[in-house]
């Protein structure tokens, strides 16, 4: 299949690539770039494990073709910690035990970060519904919600 030129900015790094138009952004991140922190859980946009942030919005990267992401700025789980410091959302997931097997965690953290960036004042109920696109099979969500609320509070009070 003929490949097309694509320019992606991923976690601040520019990548000029030739990719097949059928490859999803998820496949490009994982197989071409080698950033495997973003997970493939369903390939149908239903589980949220592949959530990354594209131009400030959380998207399921299995539902985006790599070629259509050209020129966009992408943040993955690998790009969240800075200067050796975990992002407050990452730290909150550790402190509350908001992860178990960890497979859904990158997606949850990216979705939570985008939601908090957009509006950290959401209520628990609002966060529960806003995170309805991410599936976790281990935690039962209680400790994930605790993590997200704690992170939102910290981001609210420090910014």
């Amino acid at each position: 299949m003929a490949k097309l030129p694509v320019s992606l900015t991923i976690n601040g790094d520019e990548h000029d690539l030739l990719i097949e138009p059928r490859k999803t952004l998820l496949a490009v991140l994982r197989d071409t770039i080698g950033l495997t922190g973003t997970k493939e859980g369903c390939s149908t946009g239903d589980c949220g494990a592949c959530t990354v942030i594209v131009d400030g919005k959380a998207v399921t990267s299995c539902m985006v073709l790599g070629v259509t992401a050209s020129g966009k700025e992408i943040t993955t789980i690998e790009g969240l910690a800075s200067d050796g410091e975990l992002h407050p959302v990452q730290q909150a997931f550790i402190n509350t035990g908001g992860y178990q097997c960890g497979f859904c965690t990158p997606g949850f953290i990216m979705a939570s970060k985008a939601l908090i960036d957009e509006n950290p004042d959401r209520t628990e109920e609002e966060f529960r519904h806003a995170l309805g696109g991410n599936i976790c099979r281990c935690t039962g969500y209680t400790k994930i919600l605790e993590a997200v609320l704690k992170a939102a509070e910290e981001i609210r009070t420090t910014t």
């Binding site: 922190g37 859980g41 369903c42 149908t44 178990q100 859904c104 099979r137 209680t142």
Partner: protein, 767 residues
């Protein structure tokens, strides 16, 4: 105040940072150079004869490196179907290509000529003589015929006496059960204690119902995956996302005839398992075969759709249950006849039907269980395999009895619960377990005793029991010159077990938790370890770790006695230093100094070894209460409150234990209210998250967990396995709450809105 400093405390897990930064390496993250992508070619029919498999078109596709069928399995052991398929998605061949999309295209190009056969998906249809037969000789007598035939066989064997009269009488009795010959049976199991007929005769109330529990998928978030690399010397390396690397090693060895020592299984971080991640055939064996054929590493990764069609989910079942009790609340007898849907092969957890006995003093018990073939994939374990199904039936029916005799459901349960020393029906003697404490704890926490319910609201309670397994394990612990400790072992971390092991080592060596690190070896390097399932890990590896740390502790004191010139009896290890007891002035030496000193001694470095296999486990109880509100016009049930208590023995890491309780309870909720793998004559019809809905955070409120600690005599610090019990009562908890809300008993799960509406209609409600 706890006498311990590290165990019993909430600490961040050892894998915390790698899991929140995306650094943890799961199965599909492994990418050796030159890796090919494998894809399984699957049956498009649920039951068919295979006339031919034509791979010629697929072979021509650029990028295809190998196509294999059963002809390419040198051992001859069945990996792919050949002449017949028994379910939609059954593997027929496998492809390896340079790109995953090419592998998928090639799989589509393989032409399979099917002769479609009649299909049976319902167990109650499959046992009838009219059902299509899936395997050969698979007919069994039902419990009554079985009993009578047994008596006839026994009398016929006695050649000394003439029993012809009795025999013809029994043969006439047999004719009373013409429909009790079951077809398509894969296995059977029968248990009896006391005399149920007598028990029912003495009962004031007898309730009989049929419970239907659907097949559900474990739905671990990471689909099955393995990467295999076979080198030219014959050595095979497999990176496997599995609960049991050693089981995978022996499985591959057995299936492909490769010597054990020629196989190295590297367990990768596991994206959930819940019992479903032990199987060897699913991806590991095809990956090895493809790698052997191509001489390159091959990754075989299942899609979510493949997980639903060819995973090994939890079996559905039909349980006919009968319970008798007296008006003053004593349960006298219980009888169960269960049909478990084992799919195309045997293996459903039919033995778990015994769980209908619950934790109660039921003097008379009779259980018959059958595994029944259908045109579905085989099944596997799912968190307390078989228990949620059986306990759903048992605990639903208890509420029906409680209602008829006018007793509070919690009091009724408390009154019948076994105590230490009681006889377990068809079992041994009951040890000390916090059955009553756990139920009382949840009742208190949920506000059961002064509960209020508005219109269309209801409360439900149920309990479920499970006993952790036990298995072999080995642990080494080394103490280094900087006073840190390093653990080496071979068991897969299952949501926090490495952390528990590290806490135990830190406790015994009296060092900070942060100075203990843990490494898991592969099957080439690590001591043998049992699979991480059956709630075994903290119990087994915890005990093993304790032995290893105690061994290191002994060596530490030995070294200190040399350095401090005193007998070991005068020494104690405290806060990472060995002190001479009540020495004035105080005299001590640190672990680091001792580790450095050890390097120049005859006895050598500080290496503790622990090896353990078996000790009796103690049952655990999970008790739960739900408050729900049902909308009678839509049938939708909303959970207002969900409280879960559990006797965990001792919580080594309370936050991790709560996480297990919360997660298990939500899985139970999902089985009760949402999940169901649906099948028609073409096979599974809901192989994706749109049609197979699992809960999201939007579906539930916060789960409140209550930890109860009644120590297990043989558990490390009294700990019991905590992973499985919390799922066991939730199915019944929810059904009992819905019954309380709408006044109608729903016996067929899941309790979807349409079922609630139908139930209300059948009860004369206008909706």
């Amino acid at each position: 105040m706890s006498e311990y400093t590290v165990v019993g405390q909430t600490v961040a897990r050892v894998d915390a940072v790698e899991k929140v930064t995306g650094a943890a390496q799961y199965g599909a993250d492994v990418h050796p150079p030159g890796m090919l992508y494998g894809k399984l070619v699957r049956s498009k029919h649920a039951h068919a004869n295979i006339r031919s498999i034509d791979t010629s078109e697929a072979e021509k596709l650029p990028g295809v490196r190998a196509i294999i069928t059963q002809d390419d399995v040198p051992s001859g052991r069945r990996v792919f179907a050949t002449d017949k398929v028994l379910y939609l998605g059954e593997p027929l061949a496998a492809v390896a290509a340079t790109d995953p999309d090419i592998a998928e295209e090639a799989a589509e190009l393989i032409k399979i000529d099917y002769e479609v056969l009649p299909v049976v998906q319902d167990v109650m249809e499959s046992i009838k003589p009219s059902a299509p037969r899936l395997h050969g000789d698979d007919t069994k007598d039902g419990p009554n015929r079985r009993e009578i035939s047994g008596q006839i066989r026994k009398l016929s064997r006695d050649k000394e006496n003439d029993h012809s009269g009795e025999i013809s009488k029994l043969e006439a009795e047999l004719e009373a059960y013409p429909d009790e010959v079951y077809y398509n049976i894969s296995a059977e199991s029968h248990t009896e204690a006391g005399d149920v007929e007598k028990g029912f005769a003495e009962s004031d109330v007898v309730v009989e119902d049929t419970y239907v529990i659907p097949r559900v998928h474990q739905t671990y978030m990471e689909p099955h995956v393995s990467v295999a690399s076979a080198d030219s010397s014959g050595k095979v390396t497999v990176w496997a996302s599995t609960q049991g690397p050693f089981a995978i090693r022996s499985g591959i060895a057995g299936t492909l005839g490769i010597p054990l020592t020629q196989i190295n299984v590297i367990g990768t971080t596991m994206g959930g398992g819940f019992g479903g991640r032990f199987g060897v055939i699913i991806t590991h064996v095809p990956a090895v075969l493809l790698s052997q054929k191509t001489g390159r590493p091959v990754r075989v990764q299942m899609t979510r759709e493949e997980e639903f069609t060819d995973g090994r989910p939890a079996p559905g079942c039909v349980i006919k249950l009968k319970t008798g009790a007296t008006n003053d609340g004593r349960i006298l007898a219980r009888e169960a006849l269960a049909f478990w849907d084992s799919g195309s092969v045997s293996g459903a957890s039919i033995g778990s039907t015994i769980r209908v006995r619950g934790v109660y003093k039921i003097p008379n018990l009779k259980i018959s269980a059958y595994g029944v073939h259908t045109n579905k994939s085989g099944t596997a374990a799912y968190r307390a395999p078989g228990a949620p199904q059986a306990i759903f039936a048992g605990e639903s029916q208890l509420d029906e009895i409680a209602e008829r005799i006018g007793m509070d459901p919690v009091k009724f349960r408390l009154m019948n619960m076994r105590e230490e020393g009681d006889t377990v029906p068809a079992g041994g003697e009951e040890p000390k377990v916090g059955y009553k404490e756990t139920l009382e704890a949840v009742a208190d926490a949920a506000g059961w005793w002064d509960r209020e319910a508005g219109e269309n609201q209801g409360w439900g309670v149920a309990v479920g029991d499970w006993t952790n397994g036990c298995g072999p394990g080995g642990v080494y612990v080394s103490v280094h010159e900087d006073g840190s400790a390093r653990i080496f072992h071979g068991s897969m971390d299952i949501t926090g077990t490495d952390t528990a092991i590290s806490q135990i080592i830190a406790e015994i060596l009296t060092v900070p938790y942060e100075s203990v690190t843990i490494r898991r070896g592969d099957t080439d390097s690590a001591p043998y370890s049992t699979g991480s399932g059956g709630s075994v890990v903290t119990f087994t590896m915890g005990n093993t770790a304790k032995l290893a740390a105690e061994d290191a502790h002994r060596r530490v004191l030995e070294l200190a006695s040399e350095r401090l010139n005193t007998n070991v009896d005068n020494l104690e290890l405290k806060d990472g230093e060995v002190h001479i007891i009540s020495a004035e002035p105080p005299k001590s030496i640190s672990l680091g100094e001792l580790a450095a000193y050890s390097l120049s001694t005859t006895g050598g470095p500080i290496v503790g070894k622990g090896s353990f296999a078996r000790q009796a486990s103690t049952p655990a109880l999970a008790a739960q209460i739900a408050k729900v509100e049902v909308d009678p016009s839509t049938g939708r049930t909303r959970v207002l409150k969900l409280v879960a208590s559990q006797d965990v023995g001792f919580a080594i890491n309370p936050m991790a234990v709560e996480g297990q309780i919360e997660g298990g309870t939500v899985q139970g909720y999902a089985w009760a209210m949402m999940e169901e793998m649906q099948y028609d004559e073409n096979g599974n019809v809901n192989p994706g998250f749109v049609d197979y809905r699992v809960p999201t955070s939007a579906d539930l409120p916060t789960v409140e967990s209550v930890i109860v600690e009644v120590p297990a005599p043989n558990g490390p610090y009294g700990a019991k396995g905590v992973g499985e019990p919390p799922i066991t009562p939730t199915l019944a908890t929810m059904a009992n709450a819905v019954k309380d809300a709408i006044g109608v008993r729903i016996t067929e799960l899941p309790i979807k809105p349409e079922k609630v509406v139908q139930a209300l209609k059948s009860n004369g409600h206008s909706v």
